[in-house]
């Protein structure tokens, strides 16, 4: 056994030895930009938040001709580890997807001052500045959730609507607060049921839990349920299909996950934000700081297209658009907690 291992090791080293790394000078100025992306704990394939970021990356590859690689960390200690893998490689721009990366981005950005970083949902602590080589991508999800609340309240027949949050954190409270405020603005008599799937990142990838919560809300009379819970929401769709009620998707257009049962999706255009950051990097206009996107900047919104037009009553659409105009004109303040 020992001999076979030493033979294997010898083989490895000989293979390494004969292919030395290419010298840096070989990288011509015209070489495409390489972007590294590190996914959130929910991971790629959540058909929601992470996938939206990935779409931005793919779009940049197609339209701007960049190259990209991605890493899916498995444990908390691997977040910084993954960022450093990219930072020590030839990736001038590194994108981290999720608030949970805030600390890790700060550490790695300090260790690699010449590299650029972007962090989606970067959590800004009060009185703290963003490092000069970091862009914090923030969204005003409460604004689009407000429109969602308006549509849900005016579409509901039972006058009871539900909200399923993923992890119980301030970021998700923004969705809830906007949704509640929108429902109350449209119809003060509508009851809003609220539940969270848990208090750990696991709460964003627990479809069974999502289905359980949704079924319990349906039993209490809810006929429309909005979820902001990553892949946990797939369980909410399952419950909607089973009990013939309507669900509302989040972050990406989730119509395809339960055709006919998705009233609309409250979109957070992470793809747009990711694309814009890559574009700025390419144009040499990357500048550290906070970029905040709301209804006005078209960073958030809701889906209204040929698939779901028939599901949304005319009055709901009308009132939602009225609310949008008021919010964009700063005439309506949407609470975020």
């Amino acid at each position: 056994m020992k001999r076979s291992l030493s033979v294997a090791l010898l083989l490895i080293f000989s293979m390494t030895a004969c292919r030395r790394p290419q010298p840096q000078a070989a990288q011509a100025a015209s070489a495409p930009l390489k972007v590294g992306l590190v996914f959130d704990v929910g991971g790629r394939g959540d058909k929601s938040f992470n996938d939206s970021a990935f779409r931005g990356l793919q779009r940049a590859a197609k339209e701007l001709g960049i190259k990209y690689d991605y890493i899916e960390p498995a444990e908390p200690a691997d977040r910084e580890n993954a960022l450093r893998q990219f930072a020590s490689g030839d990736y001038p721009l590194i994108i981290a997807v999720g608030f949970i990366f805030t600390d890790d981005v700060n550490r790695v950005a300090e260790a690699f001052p010449k590299k650029h970083f972007a962090c989606v949902d970067y959590a800004l602590e009060p009185g703290q500045a963003v490092p000069p080589n970091v862009v914090a991508l923030k969204f005003r999800e409460q604004e689009s959730s407000f429109l969602g609340g308006v549509i849900a309240a005016l579409t509901s027949k039972t006058k009871t609507i539900g909200f399923v949050g993923g992890m119980d954190v301030p970021l998700i409270h923004k969705f809830e607060a906007g949704y509640r405020a929108g429902a109350a603005w449209a119809d003060a008599k509508v009851k809003v049921l609220v539940s969270y799937a848990g208090v750990t990142p696991q709460a964003f990838k627990d479809p069974a839990k999502g289905e359980e919560i949704a079924l319990s809300q349906i039993a209490q009379g809810a006929d429309i349920i909005y979820h902001a819970s990553g892949s946990t929401g797939l369980g909410v769709f399952e419950a909607a299909r089973e009990k013939h009620i309507l669900a509302m998707g989040v972050d990406s257009d989730q119509y395809k996950d339960a055709p006919g049962f998705v009233l609309t999706s409250i979109t957070k255009n992470v793809d747009e934000a990711v694309f814009q950051v890559i574009q700025r990097q390419l144009e040499g206009k990357f500048k550290g700081g906070v970029i905040e996107l709301g209804l006005k900047e078209k960073g958030v919104g809701y889906v209204y297209d040929e698939h779901n037009k028939a599901l949304i009553p005319a009055r709901a659409r009308e009132q939602a658009e009225r609310a949008r105009a008021l919010i964009v004109a700063d005439k309506l303040q949407v609470p975020f907690k």
Partner: protein
């Protein structure tokens, strides 16, 4: 002793060689170039100081949880609760550290080490008591304690201790930080490997000494080998089972030292990330020998770090399959050879 190490070494070498074979098979199956994968594995993990540092960091946690499981197995006990014990120890240590801001490092660090062991031991107290007094199976009780630990620490962090917009507590006072390897060897700069590794290695030696060089250790091994025989030769089996489950919990409780005192300096929800369960696999591959635990921990840490470093080339799932394959291979080989012996 030498014979023991030799036989442990053989297991781990076999596991390493076979896992390499499985990996290459998987890589070829995915249509990737195995030579490229091997080259990257060497350059990004084995020959990169950062990669090596991260591997040693991961090894450290696994030594603690591996020792915890191995010690219990030696005594015939299945401690499935290492995961929960890691959280209990880590949380108690953080709470005490936050409550004592003024202490100097020479007092604070030993105190926190003791407290984390205490927390883990405390979490094994109930399963230990139920095992000794009622004969309740420790697999069930320790597993239930896992759920309780996770839910309770999550609740406490969110309800009382967390920094807004995060899922972790305040940072511990600077005096509570264990030195990073990068502070002594510049080449490891940036990596999370820290002095906890020395604590882990010292504990491995201590567990070995305890089991094979003390009368109590002999008793415990006797209980593990044949409880009835041990009982008839006068060993108080029940009280020994209780003691060893609590000691196993204490070892697992110390695992949090690596992440909390050595790396991030705060308690983060879910920080153990199933390293407690992986401890069972480490103990299994090591055949419950403390020296074997060190090397088995290194093997699993290498797999984990390689999975991350190669993630841009091959999917992470392949390494997860690989991890399971290693366990399978070891179980099969051990049973066959065990029959022959």
């Amino acid at each position: 002793m030498r014979a023991l190490i030799k036989s442990e070494g053989r297991w781990i070498t076999a596991a390493a060689a076979l896992s390499l074979a499985v990996l290459l098979l998987g890589v070829v199956g995915l249509g990737r170039n195995p030579a490229l994968v091997l080259r990257l594995m060497v350059s990004r993990v084995l020959l990169s100081p950062y990669g090596l540092g991260q591997t040693l960091y991961k090894t450290t946690t696994l030594i603690f949880t591996g020792l915890a499981c191995a010690l219990a197995f030696r005594c015939g006990l299945f401690n499935i609760g290492a995961e929960g014990q890691v959280y209990a120890g880590g949380f108690l240590m953080t709470a005490v550290g936050l409550a004592l801001p003024g202490l100097p490092a020479v007092l604070l660090i030993p105190l926190l080490l003791v407290v984390s062991a205490l927390g883990g031991g405390l979490w094994a107290l109930l399963p230990g008591y139920l095992k000794a007094k009622r004969g309740a199976h420790e697999v069930i009780t320790t597993m239930m304690m896992n759920f309780i630990a996770l839910a309770l620490t999550n609740y406490l962090v969110m309800a009382r201790f967390h920094v807004p917009e995060t899922i972790h507590t305040q940072e511990l006072p600077a005096a509570a930080s264990l030195p990073l390897a990068g502070a002594f060897a510049r080449t490891f700069q940036g990596s999370a490997v820290n002095a906890s590794l020395l604590v882990a290695l010292a504990l491995a030696a201590a567990v070995w000494y305890f089991l094979w060089r003390t009368p109590l250790g002999f008793e415990l091994r006797a209980v593990g080998a044949n409880p009835e025989a041990a009982r008839s030769s006068g060993v108080p089996v029940e009280s020994r089972l209780f003691l060893i489950l609590v000691a196993s919990g204490a070892l697992a409780g110390l695992a949090g030292v690596n992440f909390i005192l050595g790396y991030k300096h705060y308690f983060e929800q879910g920080f153990a990330a199933e390293e407690g369960f992986l401890g069972i696999a480490v103990a299994l591959v090591a055949k419950n020998h403390p020296v074997g635990v060190v090397f088995a921990a290194l093997l699993f840490a290498l797999l984990s770090q390689a999975g991350l470093a190669l993630n841009t080339v091959i999917p992470r799932e392949l390494f997860e399959i690989l991890q399971s394959a290693v366990i399978f291979i070891v179980v099969i080989c051990q049973n066959r050879l065990g029959e022959k012996a």
